[in-house]
Amino acid sequence: MESAGSIIMYWIIALSIVIFSVLTVTTRRILRSATFLLFTLFAAAALYFKLDYEFLGAVQIAVYAGGIVVLFVFSILLTSHPGHKSERLVSHRKWIGVLAALAALVVTGGALISRCGLACASLPEMSNPTMKTIGAAMMGTGSEQYLLPFEAISVLLLACIIGGVVVARKR
């Protein structure tokens, strides 16, 4: 049984995720869309905090909210005129989108419901992973340690940096 605060906290997070997600994709102003994405991302970060993954939440805020959304905003400002509204959606397009989303919802939701026992697991106790354990796991080569993916990601990021420079370079 969780504390009422925790429950209220949960509802705030869940509702803001749902509302901001919907707003992200329904607003016709692209800059607003990015802003709502930012809120969604914050909500997700809050969720991580609530689930005791502080480090992850921090990363989420730093990388996503701080990095990616800023990138978005920059690029939006670069590519569109202020106050520009995207044109109204053609209705069949909208319906295709709605149908696809609903289908995914139904299928996945159906799967969730059919595995009710699993879905109804309650929150177990967990000690907060400390920075030390996270660092050891990331840099270690043993079981449940992730040096190889870490290195792979590093290389990937490097490639992305170079690729980004090459692609965006003015010819």
């Binding site: 696809a100 995914a104 299928v107 059919s114």
Partner: protein, 641 residues
């Protein structure tokens, strides 16, 4: 007998053909003509010698102790072996009929070679003409001396081809081209029957060899007993089909239509090929296979009926033609039909197969007088530059030699004694009366008609009334007259040859008895015909026109040859060409090709349709991906549940 001379008889014309054909263009006309004629002259001498050897040497190869003339193979080389038994050999068979043909063919051929020196003088392609004549002589000689039926078929085709080439000699004239085409195709069609007949016969008898086939037909044909193909006895079928080949070559109804048109060729060619030699190949074929035909009396009946109908038909048509060469052509058909009839009625029990002998006798005499008539007609055409008797008349004054020789020819064909035709035709009529009175009377009528139509054109050409000649007609030069005179002489005396001594069914001598009743009747009928012709056509009058008017439809029908050409035109053009060829060609383009193209179009369409999936529109990809993923999920879930 040594094989050199027989081999030379075949080799010289062939060599001459190759020489004139390949190098002819480099020669002058004269050289080519003289060379060809000399070559043929050599062949003439050699084949006379060979025939003389055969008939008179008394060599045991050729005549048995008992006086029976034998079939003797001079040489026989394997040419193409289909199976161990069925081998085409090229050889040289001497027997009474081939020896006789060795006289007929070179004689006529030589005369024609000689005659053409004058007749064809200055024509373009003179060398080519002589080359083709040589080719024809080679093929015809090869045909008559064939030792087996397939050799005969080979040369049969070759004479057809040389006939094609010679009919179409004036290749710039569309009529000559279509006539040559017609001749070849009609005879080809007949040859199809011949070929199938050979296939059937050879399959059952396992031999092509004439001697094997004819010396003891009963045992050779034993294997065909009871065998049927599509409901007919194979033997009857085979013999009728083989006869079909003969019908084509010998222009029997209903395959006669090519012969009148073949008159488009140069006249000497008509004399050689379409009167004296090639067209009797059918008769020769039946005579060659005669012992086998005897095994199948029904096929001989068939020969008889076809022959008799053709004889009457051709005689009637000949009465109403304007073109003198056409008259002669129909007369040829009619006379060949006489020979066919004669073979058709030949039975061992009727005067020891008199019909066989009579047919060969008539073949011999007919070759002489018909060649004479054609060459005479050639001289006339040469003089007045027209084929139609309407452009002629009163020519007896201008062309005495032609007149006399032509008259001899007419008398001979009409069967007036003592000319050759009388004796041979008389033998035929005796044989026919011996077989059946009905056919006897029938053939007598035809004989009367023969006399009528021949004298009809004779009077129309040489008497009647004289049209305005632009320049005075005159006899041909010596090279043209000489053959006429020689042939006229032969036609006069040939009847006195004791033919029964030389050519009979099984080589036994047959003493010809003159049947005075039959002879009397036929002479009387002939005279009636002649006098009727004289009555109508001696001087210009309107009796012929009145007569034609009195039964206009008959005259028109006969003049149009009873519409056979139209019927053929209808069948070939309307039915075969428009009814079969065109639909097939359409079917090929539209259906077969169309379906192949359709396949291509469907593939194309499909690829275009699929191509739209690769539109480059990311959202579409995602949508499809999503659908796929969801479907997979559903399916997986379905399976798991």
């Amino acid at each position: 007998m040594d094989f050199t001379i027989p081999l030379l008889i075949l080799a010289i014309p062939l060599g001459m053909f190759l020489l004139l054909g390949l190098a002819g263009m480099k020669m002058s006309h004269k050289t080519a003509g003289v060379l060809g004629t000399l070559g043929m002259g050599t062949v003439l001498v050699l084949s006379y010698f060979t025939a003389f050897q055969y008939y008179f040497s008394g060599n045991p190869e050729f005549i048995s102790e008992a006086g029976q003339r034998l079939q003797s193979i001079i040489f026989n080389v394997d040419w193409l072996a289909f199976t161990p038994n069925l081998v085409i050999r090229l050889g040289f068979l001497l027997d009474p009929i081939s020896a006789m043909m060795l006289i007929v063919i070179p004689t006529i051929s030589f005369m024609v070679h000689l005659y053409s020196l004058g007749y064809m003088k200055g024509e373009k392609g003179f060398q080519r003409y002589y080359a083709f004549l040589s080719l024809f002589s080679f093929s015809m000689l090869g045909l008559v001396v064939a030792t087996n039926i397939f050799q005969m078929y080979i040369f049969w085709e070759l004479v057809g081809a040389s006939s094609y080439l010679l009919i179409g000699f004036f290749y710039t004239l569309p009529s000559a081209v279509s006539a040559s085409k017609k001749a070849f195709i009609v005879t080809r069609f007949a040859d199809l029957g011949f070929l199938v007949g050979i296939l059937i016969l050879s399959f059952y008898t396992q031999t092509f060899d004439f001697i094997t086939l004819t010396s003891d037909p009963g045992s050779v044909l034993a294997s065909t007993a009871g065998a049927t193909f599509m409901g007919c006895s194979v033997l009857t079928l085979a013999m009728v089909l083989i006869f079909m080949g003969g019908m084509g070559k010998s222009a029997m109804m209903p395959l006669h239509i090519w012969l009148p048109d073949a008159m488009e060729g140069p006249t000497p060619v008509s004399a050689l090929i379409h009167a004296a030699t090639m067209v009797v190949a059918g008769v020769y074929l039946v005579a060659r296979m005669f012992p086998v035909y005897l095994q199948v009396p029904s096929s001989l009946e068939f020969v008889l009926v076809i022959g008799a109908i053709t004889a009457l038909y051709a005689a009637v048509v000949a009465c109403c033609q304007i073109d003198i060469k056409r008259v002669l052509a129909f007369s040829t058909i009619s006379q060949i039909a006489f020979m066919m009839v004669s073979l058709g009625v030949a039975r061992p029990e009727i005067h020891e197969c008199l019909g066989y002998m009579a047919s060969m006798f008539h073949l011999f005499t007919h070759a002489m007088f018909k060649a004479l008539l054609f060459l005479g007609a050639g001289a006339l055409i040469h003089a007045v530059h027209s084929n139609n008797y309407t452009a002629m008349g009163g020519l007896r004054k201008y062309m005495p030699i032609t007149h006399i020789t032509f008259l001899i020819g007419c008398l001979a064909i009409a069967g007036i004694p003592p000319f050759a035709g009388f004796f041979s035709k008389d033998e035929i009529l005796v044989a026919v009366y011996g077989y059946s009175t009905f056919w006897g009377i029938w053939m007598s009528c035809v004989a009367g008609l023969t006399a009528f139509y021949m004298f009809r054109i004779y009077y129309l050409i040489f008497w009647w009334n004289e049209p305005d000649y632009h320049h005075r007609p005159h006899d041909g030069e010596m090279v043209m007259s000489l053959p006429l005179i020689i042939l006229a002489a032969v036609s006069t005396v040939a009847g006195f040859i004791h033919f029964g001594e030389f050519v009979t069914w099984q080589g036994h001598e047959y003493q010809i008895h003159m049947d005075y009743v039959v002879a009397g009747i036929s002479v009387a009928i002939a005279l009636v015909g002649i006098f009727f012709a004289r009555f109508l056509y001696l001087k210009e009058n309107d009796r012929p026109r009145r007569m034609a008017d009195s039964c206009r439809w008959l005259w028109t029908a006969a003049n149009r040859r009873f519409y056979w050409d139209e019927i053929y035109m209808f069948i070939t053009h309307k039915i075969i060409f428009n009814g079969i060829c065109r639909p097939i060609a359409w079917f090929d383009r539209a259906v077969i090709d169309g379906s192949m193209n359709g396949l291509a179009i469907v593939t194309n369409k499909a690829s275009v349709a699929i191509k739209n999936l690769q539109s480059g529109r990311v959202q579409q990809y995602v949508l499809l991906y999503l659908i796929g993923a969801l479907l997979l999920a559903v399916i997986t879930a379905w399976c798991v549940l």
